[in-house]
């Protein structure tokens, strides 16, 4: 089947994109606001068409470890959850990073801490971009701002994960997960055969042929000298990712006097703020990080040549603003604006905050 244009929710888009990508497996556990991902997969029954395995696990802990198992075999496997569930997955994610395994994780964020609310939030920015679990590691973090990007980032996330042998995460929020938009679905790709997987991922634990040594997937190394070397290798990977995979979008930035840095649904709200500001004669640009890690620090730093101040607008109490400040390094004023606990601000609230904090 070819490309198709359809109207659907962000969560449904994730499911359709995974099937079309040729994903081998999905393992999840229900949680609002992302349960439609697994529901859509179960309805689509991809095991009858592409052969994709879909399984409802007994917990997020089990689900992420199923992902670890599938990834250990070189398969394209994924899970999705929302904030409390993603917290439970952190041990497994650290093991995935430590064992250098590719996989895709989706977090459709809701407000916390604790059980919190089921309303949208971006309060898991720190968790996603700074590691989240124990140890020195990073996830390739993609922040979609549309249902189309939910589709596109499934393929991008898997491709980057396999390219660098590192987990990738789609950090969406409840708005992107729940809203309906028109999307272009890519054509179906065939799942890779075992022979292809063995050729592309010679490290995969798929059974040991006589002519190679056994493959062992592990994050354990008791010798600190070797463990340091492993960590140096991980850091080299993160450096390569940082050099090659930074993605962002600049909207109206060229002649802007003020810059808003915002990601995901917040970036869409801020696009409207640009228009409202223009009506008042204030030139505002929006820089939307698409990769939250690696973070577009240089692109933001470049803006300091002409903007008078930067507002980091987030659905949290001030997380990304720390990275913006690091990028800007004191050259211009950087302030944070956020609503908490699942409240989503209006574009004029953002404008009011910009005026109050920066002008």
């Amino acid at each position: 089947m070819k490309e198709e244009i359809k109207l659907m929710k962000g969560n449904e888009a994730i499911a359709h994109a995974a099937i079309r990508y040729g994903a081998d497996g999905y393992f999840g556990y229900p949680i609002t606001p992302q349960s439609e991902v697994m529901e859509t997969l179960m309805e689509e029954k991809p095991w009858e068409t592409t052969g994709m395995v879909v399984l409802q696990a007994e917990s997020e802990v089990a689900a992420i470890n199923m992902v670890y198992g599938g990834a250990s075999c070189g398969k394209a496997v994924m899970t999705s959850s929302s904030s409390p569930g993603v917290s439970l997955k952190q041990e497994g994610i650290s093991y995935l990073a430590g064992a250098e395994l590719p996989c895709l994780i989706v977090n459709v964020m809701r407000g916390g801490p604790g059980l919190g609310t089921i309303q949208p939030s971006q309060a898991d920015y720190f968790q996603a971009t700074k590691g989240g679990g124990h140890g020195d590691y990073h996830l390739i973090t993609l922040a979609p701002a549309s249902v189309q990007e939910m589709v596109d980032f499934v393929a991008l996330g898997f491709d980057l994960a396999f390219k660098y042998r590192n987990p990738a995460i789609i950090l969406a929020d409840g708005i992107i997960g729940q809203m309906m938009e028109k999307v272009v679905l890519p054509p179906f790709r065939k799942r890779r055969t075992e022979e292809e997987i063995r050729a592309q991922n010679p490290w995969a634990a798929l059974g040991k042929p006589k002519d190679r040594k056994r493959n062992v997937i592990t994050s354990l190394e008791l010798d600190p000298a070797i463990m340091e070397q492993n960590n140096i290798r991980f850091q080299a990977t993160y450096k390569r990712i940082s050099e090659n995979e930074i993605r962002y979008e600049e909207i109206n930035c060229e002649n802007a006097d003020y810059l808003i840095v915002a990601f995901g649904s917040m970036a869409r709200i801020c696009q409207k703020t640009i228009e409202l500001a223009a009506e008042e004669g204030i030139k505002v640009g929006v820089l939307r990080p698409i990769t939250l890690w690696p973070f577009p620090s240089e692109a933001i730093a470049r803006q300091t040549s002409h903007v008078k101040g930067i507002l980091s607008a987030e659905l949290n109490a001030g997380q990304m603003v720390e990275d913006v400040r690091l990028a800007v390094n004191g050259k211009v004023r950087v302030e944070h604006f956020g609503r908490l606990g699942g409240i989503v601000p209006t574009p004029d609230e953002v404008l009011a905050a910009l005026k109050e904090k920066l002008m």
Binding site: M66, G69, G92, L206, G207, K208
Partner: protein, 255 residues
């Protein structure tokens, strides 16, 4: 008739040797630890079934974490307790492969109880090898869910007190009740006869998994002589005299 020993030690007279799939890496286990015997049996069964190229082992967190260093097959090292979840995915994504987990009683019966029971309940076509030595070996001999009443460990130095710590958990009896299991058995490896029986059980379990009959669990009541602070020989005696009453030998289920 006198026969020189060198006339006997010839390849054609060989009756027993270290399994082919067990490599020459010296094992890190304490002298006399049951883990080594069970490793040998698994290596022999895989070899005899001719499935070494199709077998994937899931190693636990516990003393057997390094099982992957000794049996020459592909391995995945799990987070503590999560081996059955990992095995679930490996088997579902590779239905023709032989997938087994190897877990201690802390790994399987404490932190990983949920994963164990749910893998069994889904009837995953995997084998779970469960080493019940009544103690946490790797971390230095703390209480396990399987620790016997009155038994001393470093976290119950005055003996396990059920008022404080609850009762020894009999996992085999639990998973026997779960519909997804096809074979649940309790074995030991402390005598030549018990070792032969345990090997038959492992073989039967592996055949079940390959035939898609459901989950098989082989509990092996084992010793941890270091944790128990006994000689290996004494530990075997102590196991027979104390563990077998709570953890009786034999098949609980075989369908």
């Amino acid at each position: 008739m006198y026969m020189d020993i060198n006339d006997i030690i010839k390849p054609e007279n060989l009756v027993y040797t270290k399994p082919r799939l067990m490599n020459d890496n010296p094992m890190h286990y304490c002298p006399g630890c049951s883990h080594g015997v069970v490793h040998k049996l698994i290596a022999e069964v895989i070899d005899e079934m001719g499935i070494e190229e199709e077998t994937i082992g899931i190693a636990p967190v516990g003393c057997a974490v390094f099982a992957y260093n000794y049996i020459d097959i592909d391995w995945i090292e799990a987070a503590h307790g999560r081996a059955p979840a990992i095995a679930t995915a490996v088997k579902r994504l590779n239905p023709k492969k032989m997938v087994f987990t190897y877990q201690g009683d802390g790994d399987l019966a404490a932190i990983g109880t949920a994963e164990t029971i749910h893998a069994c309940n889904r009837g995953e076509n995997i084998v779970i090898i469960f080493i019940n030595n009544g103690i946490y070996g790797m971390t230095g001999g703390q209480m396990a869910p399987t620790t016997l009443e009155g038994m001393k460990t470093s976290t119950c130095p005055y003996g396990r007190n059920v008022a404080l710590n609850g009762y020894p958990l009999r996992i085999a009896e639990l998973v026997e009740r779960v519909d997804g299991t096809c074979y649940v058995t309790r074995q030991s490896v402390h005598t030549p006869a018990s070792i032969r029986k345990a090997k038959k059980a492992i073989r039967h379990a592996f055949e079940n998994a390959m035939a898609g009959k459901g989950t098989s669990m082989i509990e092996i009541v084992s010793t941890c002589n270091s944790g128990w602070k006994m000689t290996p020989v004494k530990a075997n005696q102590w196991m027979e005299e104390n563990m077998f009453a709570k953890y009786p030998m034999g098949d609980l289920k075989n369908v």
